[in-house]
Symmetry: C2
Subunit: 631 residues, 2 copies
């Protein structure tokens, strides 16, 4: 009994929190990204991505510039632009998208191959170095863009290009083994399979997935020496098999390790394949890694990747707050993975994770004005060291305007513009509502709409527009307090099973169901093995994790102490656009000119103001802290 | 009114704590080091240091091997061997020392030059690259060895070799500018000046000191390119002027930064020069840096150097416990510096620092059996990450037998074997006792002996053997509790000024003065800007800082909580050779399978056992923690 998402073209978001953010994307971020790709933003890091395509088409002369995977910036922008066109028709953007797609078409080689780096710079080395050269990665993103244009706005030119590209890949790699150096093609091929129904693409995705780890020496055997070329910011070592999860066969993996985005892209594709094939072994592997990540390797904000060294997972419970990597892309990919797990089985923990990432680690990647982006999402910033002292150089107190490696901004853009597809799914007898994001959905059981004042209040109201006999299954977040569900004003029994309340009923057109639950301020404590969080508390309310910022406190943030009995008040006040902040009477440890003292620390009362984590770094640059000392 | 140390040949240590450690040095460590230098220890990292000298003397063929400063291992061993011979005459060791000195003599070039690397490998490049090549550094250590053999055992052959070497250096660098890439020659030249009275060596030391920072571009201008040679484990960058403190003129420096050992060797020489010349400007610079280090950049154990990246200081209050560098050599050098400051002005803070280093950060560099050594001295070890995860790879849970870069073991050896000179000093009317280390001293005011049960008890008894009218100034540690001083059983007024109790009296032969002070367990708290110590407590008693070890606790050490009202009992028990451990009823936070929980943390009672920090890592490899959570 397969559960499928209700696609975004059947969902319209009308949400006080997310609709303005989608408009930011369509009106500000996506046009800005396009200008970046065209090198039209003075002062921003050079992209050259469109120029690379022009050179590959023989329409411009010069040198290839940028990362070996620079094409993927264009692909991810096209994917986001497709979703943007679906949200907000825009004739001029559509024409420019058509132009870029046509340009891409002119770059495609007669055999279907498509990659500007190898067309311009090393035509003799196509597919020669799968470990480092990202050709399959770029192809995966291009296929995602092609599918997005097809599904979101019915434009199929790029889809046809991508079918030729995918056929070229299948022709080659269904014959001879090839292991993608950076997982992503598997996601693209699964999406192409869903869009076309051609099982060859699913077979290819599964073959790529299943080859991983069969021979841990694979990359060592198949990576040519290239003494005079570097393909990335850092060397990818064939012997570091954990880096790209090629040390253990995919089905046998038990713990997340290596490059976090590679790990999560693989899991995203695995979950999609498992949902489609009912492969219990892959599902079990997905669940093992889901558990390992969420129970041992994930920051409280949803960030993953504890070390900047190769952007990687490290070991269980190693979650340093101030040297966190927490790449935005990895949190975006956590949402992808959780969303695909919901297609296997609608369990609340997957929706909880999707919610955590959307409202915290992923969303923090972007400034409130949609123009600046974090690659790294720390849980503590001390401006005396962050960005300065060795080991902290990747941790910035402010979002930069653009990155030379520009993977994160378009990843956020495609997530937020395609948010519609994360909200609802359905099977033959049930409609699932996963997130309290106000929207209207056309389901196989008729039209349903929902209004919500989330994330600020635990309230939502569903309206049934057509009626019918089916189950409405509402995800009740793990953090929800006392729950009340009323249908047409009359309370009904509300018991969540596996995180969902199932309301079976012969629904009538016009039926209204309200869901209300308490969202008390939560004091979160970490497992005692998390060194940086021991003895500390993180505040949360509803889906939001909070942090304290230097902008609100005169003292060092590490001097603040929140007594365990302090009343914490949700307060809407001045400078943060109507957000609910958390305020409490705390203490501050007085500083002396002594570094160490045998005297008991002196404290004095100090107000503490915590703001939503996603909103940090939008005022003057300063310190930030998620884990606050508790007394 | 110059205060001079009472030299070690006038002091005999008879101390229950230190005498066995000196015997370890003479009987175990120094013979072991010699075997290492001669490549006679199977399984230990190859040294080749003696072979390098044989090759430089033309008596062996082959390739130079080891660090460009490998000679300094021999020099530091010779210096330690000199002190060892003074502690314990040993005909065979003396003969072997003579042999090595004669070998060194045969390596010396006709013009006085002495360095095996440049004699064997790059004779054309003598003095060409002062930034990286350590010729002056090696010369400084060789001169220290020459002076040590002269002063400790009256053997002058190496002194004469070193005089020729120093003259060669003066001939060159009193004429043309030369900036030592690694401070050390300044210490050697000052010691040679004290030994010979030849002010030219002091002038040369001051010229080296004063040149530093005059032109921050000096190294950039004077470092030749060498594309095919690397002189060290990591490249030393001419533009990183803070690394070797050449960014600001020496007299104007205000804060410690860059390579910690370079900084402290410079301060050691500066203090020596300032004491000798009464240079108020250099004294003021020393005091500024002393204050900066001890009030903002020093770990509670006395360790310095917050980052393994170039073994350096970072910024104020950046003292990560688990990624600490805290090089043993840097703590040894802190003792050198503090000792030299006492010659300028006998203030308790200098003696306190000397004590802190001797009993904690420096001593921890060595295993209890004298055979294994730490280079890095962390304040927290979690064996799931230490030595494994990027950023923690330098942090080891156990002392290795030897290091390829073997600077630390002989530095500790020369400190401990020459401990006698750190204890007493005198001027025309006062005898100063700086440390409670049982000893007999021949002072200009007659013989004085002291017995002590330090560091386990705050008790010492002084005996005046000759008598006379003078002041006996006893350093009362900053941590001392209630103090009682009795002369011949009768209590006298005991007020410390600047950390010293001055007892002026017409002493009679046979007078006995007892000093007793409480040594309560101290709960130390750090300045709230020290991120890793916020909300935590470090235990100390007397001069000793304590830590908890995995060997004594079943739970994760980060789960342990010491209530702020817990009684802490000093207990002598079983497995640690009569040391006083600290024991308390603490709490342990229960772990669940959840990473984060909104439930209040559950705790249960748990005994906590803390052991002296210097003794950590001597049982089974495991976790260690200095800063324990406090409730």
């Amino acid at each position: 009994m397969s559960i499928r998402e209700i696609p975004m073209n059947k969902v319209r978001i009308t949400d006080a929190f997310w609709s303005p953010r989608q408009r930011l994307m369509t009106d500000v971020t996506i046009p800005y990204m396009e200008k970046i790709l065209r090198d039209e933003v003075p002062g921003a890091a050079k992209s050259h991505a469109i120029s690379n395509f022009r050179m590959a088409a023989g329409e411009e002369t010069g040198e290839f510039y940028g990362m070996v995977f620079q094409d993927s910036d264009v692909a991810k922008w096209l994917e986001a632009a497709a979703y943007s066109l679906a949200l907000k028709p825009d004739k001029e953007l559509e024409e420019r998208v058509d132009d870029v797609v046509a340009l891409i078409g002119r770059c495609q080689q007669p055999d279907g191959y498509l990659n500007t780096y190898f067309t311009v710079k090393e035509p003799q080395n196509r597919w020669a170095n799968l470990l480092e050269c990202h050709e399959l990665y770029c192809a995966g993103h291009m296929i995602e863009a092609g599918v997005a244009l097809h599904e979101a706005v019915g434009k199929d030119e790029l889809l046809h290009i991508c079918i030729r590209l995918a056929d070229h890949i299948c022709d080659r790699f269904l014959q001879e083994d090839g292991l993608p150096g950076h997982q992503e093609i598997e996601i693209g091929l699964m999406r192409l399979y869903h869009a076309t129904g051609n099982v060859r693409y699913r077979d290819m995705a599964l073959r790529f997935l299943d080859l991983r780890g069969q021979d841990p020496q694979w990359f060592k055997k198949h990576t040519p020496a290239h003494p005079n070329v570097r393909y990335g910011d850092y060397d990818i070592l064939p012997e570091d098999t954990a880096y790209n999860q090629s040390d253990v066969p995919m089905r046998q993996q038990t713990a997340a390790r290596g490059h976090a985005v590679r790990q999560l892209y693989m899991l995203t594709a695995m979950a999609d394949a498992a949902a489609d094939t009912n492969d219990a072994e892959i599902t079990a592997a997905c669940d093992r890694l889901f558990d390992n990540i969420t129970r041992k390797q994930m920051y409280v904000t949803g960030a993953i990747g504890s070390t900047s060294h190769r952007e990687s997972f490290t070991v269980d419970y190693d979650l340093p707050a101030d040297r966190c990597y927490g790449e935005t892309c990895a949190s975006v990919a956590m949402a992808f993975f959780a969303h695909n797990m919901l297609a296997i089985k609608p369990e609340g923990r997957y929706a909880d994770l999707m919610e955590l990432e959307l409202y915290n680690a992923a969303l923090a990647g972007m400034s409130l004005d949609g123009k600046r982006f974090f690659y790294v999402n720390p849980l503590a910033v001390d401006t005396s060291v962050s960005g300065i002292v060795p080991g902290y150089q990747h941790v910035l107190p402010q979002r930069p305007a653009w990155h030379a490696c520009a993977c994160c901004p378009p990843n956020l853009a495609r997530l937020i513009t395609s948010l519609g597809k994360y909200l609802w799914s359905a099977n033959d007898d049930t409609v699932y509502s996963h997130l309290f994001i106000g929207s209207q959905a056309e389901t196989k059981h008729g039209r349903i709409s929902m209004e919500s004042s989330y994330p600020w209040e635990g309230k939502a109201e569903y309206t049934i527009h057509d009626g019918g006999c089916f189950t409405l299954a509402i995800h009740i977040p793990q953090h929800a307090g006392k729950l009340q569900i009323c249908i047409n004003g009359k309370e009904v029994e509300a018991n969540a099973t596996d995180g969902y309340c199932h309301i079976h009923r012969n629904w009538q057109a016009g039926d209204r169901m309200s869901v209300a639950f308490d969202m008390p301020v939560r004091r979160l404590h970490a497992h005692p093995c998390v060194r940086d969080a021991a003895g500390k508390v993180a505040l949360a309310r509803g889906p939001l994790v909070y942090c304290v910022e230097g902008a609100d406190h005169a003292e060092a943030l590490t001097a603040l102490i929140l007594p365990d009995d302090a009343a914490i008040r949700p307060v809407v006040d001045g400078d943060l656009a109507g957000m609910i902040t958390l305020q409490a009477e705390g203490l501050v440890q007085k500083a002396s000119d002594q570094l160490y003292s045998a005297d008991a620390p002196q404290t004095s009362p100090a107000p503490i103001r915590a703001i939503p984590y996603f909103a940090w770094g939008n005022r003057a640059p300063g310190d930030m802290l998620v884990w606050v000392r508790e007394a």
